[in-house]
Structure formats: C-alpha cells, structure tokens
Amino acid sequence: MALATSPPEAGEAGAPGRYSSDAAGLGRLRAGVFVAPALLLIAAFLVFPALWVLYLALTNYRLTGAAAAEPQFVGLANLLDAAANPEFWSSTWLTVEFVLGSAVIGQVGLGFTIAWLLRDRRGPLKRLVEGLVILAWILPGAIVSFLWVALLDRDGGTLNALLGIQGFAWLLDHPMLSIIVFNIWRGTAFSMMLYGAALGNVPPSHLESARLAGASGWQQLRDVVFPHIRGHVLTNLLLISLWTFNDFTPFLLTAGGPDGRSEVLAVHVYKVALQSGELGYGAAVSAIILLINLVVAVFYLRLLRRRK
C-alpha cells in the first residue's frame, strides 16, 4: 500500500504498470520474461499437439499416398469408421478390463493391503517390502516387461517351472491376464506410498477406542479407517485409472497380440496410425482418449480443490 510510492528502478521508468509492491522488484514485465520460455515450450509441444489432434481427427490424413500431401477434410467420418470398426470396440473393452483389473482391483486393493499390513511397523521387514515394491515401479518399462516375457515363457519360463506345469503359454493364451498382473506388479508402489501416508493421518485414538469397544479388524477398517481415507481412495483411483488408460507398456509385453487380444487403446492408436499409416483415423481415436482424459482429470482436480 504505502510501498506503492517507492521510486522505480533506473531503466524501468517507462515500464507499464506499477510493479513496486512485488517482492524483489520483479516487475510484471520481468515476470513475463521469466515465464515466457517455459510457456513457449508448453504451447509448442503440449497445447498445440492437443489442438492439432482434434483437427487431424477430422481429416483423411495418411502416412503415404495422395492423402499424405493433401489431406482432405472429412468431418466426422473417422469417428463413424471407429464406431463401425470391431477392432476399435474390442480395444475399448480390453482397455476397460485393463483399467478395472489392474488399477481398481489390483493397485488400489493391493496398495492398500500392503500399507495396512505394514502400518505399525518399522525396521528391516518394512523397508524390504517397500523397497522391492518401489523397485518394480522405478525400473525402466522396457526391462521389466522383458523380465515378465522370460518369467511367463511357455517352455523355459520360471513360472511354469515353479508351478510344475509344462507348456502353459501365459502370454499367448491369457494375454490380458498377463498384462494386468504385470501392471499390478509394476504400478502398486504409488498407491502403497499414498495409503501409507494416508493411514498415518488416521488418529490412533479413534482406532484404540474402536478396539476397546470390541470392533473386529474389519469393522475398524470400515467404520474408522475408511471414512478418513475416502478422499484419498477416490483421488488415487482417478489418477491411476488415468495412467493405466494411457499406458503404452502393454505394447512391450505382447505388442497387442496375439490377434489383437491385448490391443488396448494406447496400442491400437499406435498400430493404426504409425504402423498402418492411417494418421487421421488414429488421431480420431486419440481425440476420444483426450476427451476421456479431460473428464477424468477435471473430476480429479475438483476433488483435490475440495480437499484443500
């Protein structure tokens, strides 16, 4: 307020606006200069592609041939094609399986279970379990997917050897199950850490009095713990669903096969757009993915805001 009368710095006399109350003399103009390089890159490589994919979705753009040089505007034809394409629908349902199986049941369920089991523990056992789960999360996807290719191999894989069975082709006969279990293995760390922190916020006195009142473990979970962490469960669910929905790693495990039986939408886009060269159609599927992402992310951010 009173600071507004402080003298402007030399060389800034002509700058628009009164900048003087800003900390450290960082005027609005300078602030703009600080923000600009970041915004430029974000605009070029994040915002523009998102808008451009919406445009490409309305063209018959192709990787090769006449439509590569001069793409025609075709309106909603790509979307109609998608709606009439059984491969699009099978990819959609496989993606629903993938998200429900690995994110909802697996990562939220398993992540909470681990956090709950280790809630009161300190020491090496807790560090060992948590360390291994986090290791699965941070190792490069290209490596861990090959580890699973080796593990699940029909003839020489360790899983069949451990189970004492021969010739069971996990990846070929149960590609979705393989991918879902793999994704649970790989993605549980985030949920585990989140629930570990959330459980730390449940007041021990509430649990103690429930225990004294004779509540069973299950009742304690349902009536004391769950009401406290409901917000965490919901935001966790939205976030990992979003990640799983967009995950391209299944490609590394099965390349969408056999016969498209593990071709989730992320892999479908790659196959139709960059392998078959139907860029316009691929963009239309991408645009659908983008809009679904938008809906989920808006829900997520609204929940976050309400919690603040």
Partner: protein
Amino acid sequence: MTRFVLGRIGFYTLIAVLLAFFTIPLLWLVTAPFTSDPTYEIKIPGFTSDPTSEVKAPSFTLDNFRAVAEHPYALPSLYNSLVLSVGTAVLVVILASLAAYALSRVRLPGRDALLYALLLLSSIITGTAAMVPLFQLAVELNLIDSQLGLILILTGGLLPAAIFMLKDFMDSTPKSYEESARVFGATPLQIVRHVVVPLVRPGLATVGVWAVANVWGNFLMPYLLLSDVEKQPAAVITYTLYTEGGQANLSMLSTFGLLYSVPVVLMYLFVSKKYGFRFHGGIKR
C-alpha cells in the same frame, strides 16, 4: 491367544507371498548376467571350475559384460539415454524454476487460472493422445532423429508438473532475503541465482531427479522419433534386442538390462537417503 497366533501366521504368510510376487521377476535380472549361456529360467550361477562336470548349476562368468562392451549399440545407447535425460532435466529445472519464481512472487493477472490450466493439460495430454500430432510436428520441423528436438518435446511435456512442484517450494521460502538483496542492488536474475536457488535446492534436486527418471525409462517418444539406431536410447535398444528375429540373445539382454537398471536404482537410493522418498502431487509421468 489362538486368535493372536493365527493372526501372526496369516500376517507372515501374506508378507511371504507378497515378497515372492515382487522378488521372483527381478531374480532373473540379477542372476542371468553372471551365468554362462543363460536361459529364461532363473538359475543361480555356481562356481564350477570344470565346465564338463556333472554339476547342473551353470557356471559363474563375467564374459557377458565383455560382450555388451563389444556390442556396437549397447554402450552408446546408454550414453544416449544419459544425454536425453540429463539434457531434459537441466532444461526443465532452469525453465521451471524461472517460471515458478515469477508465478510465486508476482500477481500476474489470470495466474491461478493459468496454473490450473497447466495442471489439467499435463495430466490429459499424454503420449497416447498426442503421438500422431507430435510425430507430424517432428516431421514438419525436421526433428526426426534429432536428440535436441526430442529433448525439447520431452521438456514441454514435463514442464507443467515441474512448475507446479517448484512453485510449492518457492511459496514456502521467505521473501525477506530477496528484499534485502534488492536493497543492495541485486538484479532479479542475481537474486534468483544467489538467494532463491540455494533456498529451494532440495526442490530443484527433486524435480531434476524426477525428470531424469522419467526420461530414462521413456520408451514411446524415442521409439517414435528416433529411427537412427546410433541415436536411440537404451529403452529402444532393449526392445529391438528382444524382438530381433524372434531369437533373443539372453546373455546380452540380461547384462545390458542390468547396466541400464543400475543408474535408476542408485538414484533412488541417493534420493531416499538424502531427502527421504517423498513424492509430490502424485506425479509419475
């Protein structure tokens, strides 16, 4: 009492199952590189001196590491991964800290809306949603097979989340130091370098490590945009090694995989030792 004992048994059974689930897939990665002629099955290499002996355990060897060193693309691809991830991390940290500082200290009109839009954008625009336009953009701008181009594209994708994380750090540092530096005539860039950066160093380190880890493991974007095998990072080389002609070279793959994995593990150990393993706002990729 019986209930307590049963509870303990149940607890340790569950923990044992969990440990097996998370350990078994990793065992191959730590045994196969040291095994002569590894197979898919996990075998602990033994120290048999006589290769013709009847002992079933495969023998311990370091030859696989020599084979990786001699492979024309293996070690160079690790170098490429380093260039891409460090290049991106440096750019992300510099640009995000400048932007976060300005957004934290100055009330620009529409600032909150901008931050909200950034957070929204970074979570909805993924490689899957943007692969077609990014591929086309790279073709048009002549950025195919350009590591610098890929660095810029990756930086654009990571910046919003990085700005968000850093703004949090900046908001919690006191402004009084900057004001006194200003009284002594420091320019804003000097203030950022000599006052703000030392204060938010843990934040910069977190964002830098997060960016490195993100790019180190990234497969889709380099796979799409780098077709020259001499420029490809380890993620893409790994994939081409194991899809090559259906017959994967397992000693090469496992050894290379181990070398490719060790840096992220070391980085994780360093971070969790130095800063505790916190994570911010649930950001993974």
